[in-house]
Symmetry: C2
Subunit: 490 residues, 2 copies
C-alpha cells in the first residue's frame, strides 16, 4: 500500500475507492448516495462532455433542456417504464417549509402539499414525449434530434462513487422519426458514436452488442450497448442506445401525418452515457501508484518540474523553457510548470503520478548545461533523457504514443481474458477468475436467470459481430445459433 | 400584430411571451412553473455559458459539482438563509412509489419515507460550505475558487418564461478566502466580470451597484449587483455577487489555521447568473417583428437565402458562394445557406427576422450576373447592395457594427430614461412612465418599504460610482449623502 492506496491485488474494490479519493476526483456527500465531484474529477468529465457534445452536433443533434420534475402519473403511462423506475425514485410531495412550533428548526408545512406528487427525473422519456406531442404534426416536423445534459436521480440502495450514485450527471438523447428503419439507424449510429468515443478518447476497447430482453431498458424494443472489461475481469456497461419502437409515442399519443396523408405513431430512440464513464476510465487503466489517464482526457498533459536551489537557477530554467511552454500550448497541449516551493521535487513526482499526468518533464541546472531534460511517461514509467532542443515535438509524439499504448494494453487484456467456454463445468470454473465468457445460450430468460443465480454472471450482450455458429446451450444443452458474452458486472 | 406577436405598445408583457414562443426559445411544461428550453433558445444559452465559463477560468476558477439535495436541517444553520428560502422550496419526503391497491396507477409508498426530508437546492451555499469544512484546514488550502453549472428550484407562485421559473439553470460561484479584503476583492471582481459580459456579449449596458440591506441575498453581508433597463423602462437584475463575510463559515464551522498559527473562520463569496439573462437579452433589444440578437450570441450570424427557379440557378449560386461560406466559417462566423424549397424567400426573410439573425444575404440569378448581393441587417433593417467579391470582409465588419450599434442604442435608451428626481410629487409622476429615478434616500428600511408600497418602485441599487452629494430624502425629507436608483422591476 503506497500513498494511502490499497493495492489492486489486495482489494480491487478498496483500491478503486482509495484512488477516487486520493486523486481528488470525488467524495461522498452528506446526502446519502449523492457525490461531490471535485474540481480535478470534474475537469476530466468536462473534457468528456466537450468531446461527446462535438460528436452529437457533427451528427446533426441539438441540445435542449426539459424539466427536472415529472408528474407521478406520467411515469405510469408506459407500463414497463414505471416498473423499471418507480421502485427507486425521489418523490417531491410539498413545496414549503415552516418554522417548527417548538422553535427547533424547520418542518414541512402540511398545508403546502402538492396536488400531484412529482418525481425527480430518473430519465426523461416521459416528460420529453409529452412535449414532443405538441411539436410533431407532420412528417415535415421529423426527425427531432435532441440531446440534453442533465442530472438524474435513481434511489439506489448500494452506491459507489461514479459507478452507482443516487444522483448522477449524464446526457440523454431523445429522437423521433417517421420510420422504424430510420429510428433503428439512429440508435445504431449513436452506439457507434459511443464506441468510437470510448476507444479513441477513453482508450477503452468495447464490445458492441444488444441486450437480452431481460436486460433491456424499461420501455425499449431493443437496447444496444457497449461493454468494457475492467482490470479485475468484470464487465462495465459504458453506454446504451435504445430503439423505443412506438412505445412512448403510443403512451403519449404522438402521431404524425405522413407523406401518404395517413396518421401514424412516431418512432423513437434514446441514448445516454453518464459520469459512470469516470469509473470505467479509472478502473480500466490505473495502477497502484495512482491514475493513468489517456492524454486526450488528462486535464494536465505535461507537468514540468524544475529542480532548483535558488531563484537564479529557477529563472534560468524558466527562461530556457518559456518558448517551449508557449510552443506546447499553441499545439493545444496543456502544460503545468510547477515552481512551487512548498514541496520537494520527489513529492511532486509522486503527486503527479497519483493524478495520472501522462508526461513529466524534470529539469535542473546540470540538465540546462547539457542541453537535456528527463521525460517520464506515466503509463509505462519509462524515463528517457532527451535534448531540450525540439522537446515540444518529442512530447507531442510521446502523448500520441501513450494514448495508443494505453488502448493497446487494455485491448490485449480484454483479449487475453475472453474465453470460449463449451461446458457448464468450464463455465463455473472460468467465471471465478473473471473475464468475458463466450458461450452458447438457448435464448430463454429462464436459463439466463438460472445462470445468474448460480454464478452471478449476466449476459452482457449479444455481440453485433457474433458469427452464426451451431452449438448447444452451456447450461440447458438446448440448441443455440450463436455465442453471447457472459460476465460478472459492475 | 404581425406574425402572431402582440406589439410592444399594445402589451409589452404579452409581446415578450409571444416572442419567446414564436421564436422557439422556450415554452411552459406540464409541470407548474417549469419550462422547456427549446433548441434555439438553448443554443443561445450555450453561447452565454461558454463565454462566461471562459471568463471564470481566466480569473482562476475551476468547476465542480455538488449534490442536488440539501438535508432540511442544513437550511436552518444560517438564520437569514432559511428565512429567505424555506417558504418556496421543493421537498422530497419519500424514495419509492408502488402500485395502487385499486390498480389505478402508482402511489407514494408510505413505507419509503425519508428519515430527514431533502430540499431540492434553491442555491448551494449550505451544501457547499458543509463540504468546504473538510477541505480547509490551513491558509495553504485557500483560496478555494469554485464554480458550478447547475439547475436550482425555487417554488415561485407567479412564473414567467426565463424571468421567473420554478426550475432554472444557472452558475453559482462559491469561494473561500483567508481575509475579508480578499473576499471583497473577489466579489467585486466577479461583479465586473458579469458587467463586462453583459456589455460586451449581451450588448446590455448595466449599472454596477450594491443592494440595500432589505434587498440583500439571504445570508450575505453585502450584495453587489448589475441592473439593466428593459424597453418598457423597468429594471432587471442581471447578476449578483455576494460578500458573505464569515456567515456560512460560522454556520458550518469552517475554520483555518492562519500564517500566524491562529484559528479563524474563513471568508466567503458567492455569485451567480441564470437563464434570466435570456429574458434580459430578449426584452432589451427585440422589436415587434421578432428577436434582435447581438451577433456574439446569435446561433446563426449570417443567413444566405438564394433566390432560384431551378436547380441550375441554385447550383450556380452555390458554386459562387461556396468559397465565401468557407471563408466566413474559417473566421468563426456561423452561416446558414437555406436552399430549402418548402418555403418561399419572403417567408424565409420573415422567419429569420423573427429569429433575430443579424445579417441576411439574398442572392439571385441577376445578382450573380451583376456580381452583387443584397445584405440586410436585422437591427436597423437597412439593406445595401454590395459586391460579391470581398463580401466576407463586408459581413465581418457589419457584424461588429451591429454588435456596437445594439449596445449603443440600449445605452442611449437607458440614459434618456434615467432621471434625477428631487420631490415626492415628481417621483410619483415619473415612476409611472418608467425608467430609473435617481433620488435621495434617508437610508432607512422604513422609507424604502413605504416608497415600495406607494409606487411599487424598489431601490435597485446604490451605484458604485454614485458621487457624494448632500440632499434630502425624496420621501421623508431627512438628510441623504447620495442618490440611489429607484425603479419598478422584473
Amino acid at each position: 500500500m503506497s500513498k494511502g492506496i490499497t493495492s489492486r491485488t489486495d482489494d480491487y474494490s478498496e483500491w478503486y475507492l482509495d484512488l477516487v479519493k486520493r486523486a481528488d476526483l470525488a467524495e461522498n456527500s452528506a446526502v446519502r448516495g449523492c457525490m461531490v465531484i471535485k474540481p480535478y474529477g470534474y475537469s476530466i468529465w468536462e473534457k468528456m462532455q466537450r468531446a461527446l457534445d462535438d460528436k452529437f452536433k457533427e451528427t446533426g443533434h441539438v441540445n435542449a433542456y426539459f424539466p427536472l420534475f415529472i408528474p407521478k402519473s406520467y411515469l405510469s403511462k408506459e407500463a414497463s417504464h414505471v416498473e423499471g423506475f418507480a421502485k427507486e425514485c425521489a418523490v417531491v410531495t410539498h413545496y414549503r417549509l415552516k418554522n417548527a412550533p417548538d422553535g427547533s428548526g424547520v418542518i414541512v408545512d402540511p398545508e403546502a402539499k402538492l396536488e400531484e406528487e412529482l418525481i425527480v427525473r430518473p430519465t426523461s422519456e416521459t416528460v420529453i414525449w409529452s412535449t414532443y406531442k405538441n411539436w410533431v404534426q407532420s412528417y415535415r416536423d421529423l426527425p427531432l434530434l435532441i440531446n440534453q445534459w442533465a442530472n438524474v436521480v435513481r434511489w439506489e440502495m448500494r452506491t459507489r462513487l461514479f459507478l452507482r450514485t443516487a444522483e448522477f450527471l449524464w446526457q440523454e438523447g431523445h429522437t423521433a422519426h417517421a420510420t422504424s428503419e430510420e429510428a433503428i439507424a439512429e440508435a445504431e449510429q449513436m452506439l457507434e458514436v459511443y464506441a468510437k468515443f470510448a476507444e479513441e478518447w477513453l482508450a477503452l476497447p468495447v464490445i458492441r452488442g444488444v441486450k437480452t430482453p431481460n436486460e433491456r431498458f424499461a420501455g425499449a424494443v431493443e437496447t444496444y450497448c457497449i461493454e468494457a472489461m475492467m482490470q479485475d475481469g468484470k464487465a462495465l456497461q459504458a453506454g446504451t442506445s435504445h430503439f423505443l419502437g412506438q412505445n412512448f409515442a403510443k403512451a403519449f399519443d404522438v402521431q404524425f401525418l405522413g407523406k401518404d396523408n395517413k396518421l401514424d405513431y412516431v418512432w423513437g430512440t434514446s441514448w445516454g452515457v453518464s459520469t459512470r464513464l469516470m469509473g470505467a476510465l479509472i478502473m480500466a487503466h490505473s495502477d497502484d501508484q495512482g491514475l493513468v489517464l489517456p492524454p486526450k482526457l488528462a486535464p494536465i498533459q505535461v507537468v514540468i518540474v524544475p529542480i532548483f536551489r535558488n531563484d537564479e537557477q529557477l529563472n534560468a530554467i524558466y527562461d530556457r523553457l518559456e518558448p517551449i511552454i508557449k510552443d506546447l500550448k499553441s499545439r493545444g497541449i496543456s502544460v503545468k510548470f510547477d515552481d512551487s516551493t512548498n514541496e520537494k521535487p520527489g513529492w511532486k513526482f509522486a503527486e503527479y503520478e497519483l493524478r495520472g499526468v501522462p508526461v513529466r518533464m524534470a529539469i535542473g541546472a546540470r540538465d540546462l548545461e547539457n542541453g537535456t531534460t528527463e521525460l517520464a511517461r506515466r503509463d509505462t514509467k519509462e524515463k528517457q533523457i532527451v535534448p531540450i532542443e525540439g522537446v515540444a515535438d518529442t512530447i507531442q509524439a510521446l502523448l500520441e504514443q501513450i494514448q495508443t499504448n494505453i488502448y493497446q494494453k487494455a485491448l490485449k487484456f480484454q483479449e487475453e481474458n475472453t474465453f470460449k467456454v463449451d461446458t457448464w463445468a468450464e463455465f463455473q470454473e472460468k467465471i471465478e477468475t473473471g473475464g468475458f465468457l463466450l458461450a452458447h445460450w438457448d435464448e430463454t430468460s429462464e436459463t439466463e436467470e438460472q445462470i445468474k443465480e448460480a454464478t452471478k454472471a449476466t449476459i452482457r450482450c449479444i455481440p453485433l459481430d457474433a458469427p452464426e455458429e451451431e452449438g448447444t446451450c452451456v447450461f440447458s444443452g438446448k440448441p443455440s445459433k450463436r455465442r453471447v458474452i457472459f460476465a460478472r458486472a459492475y
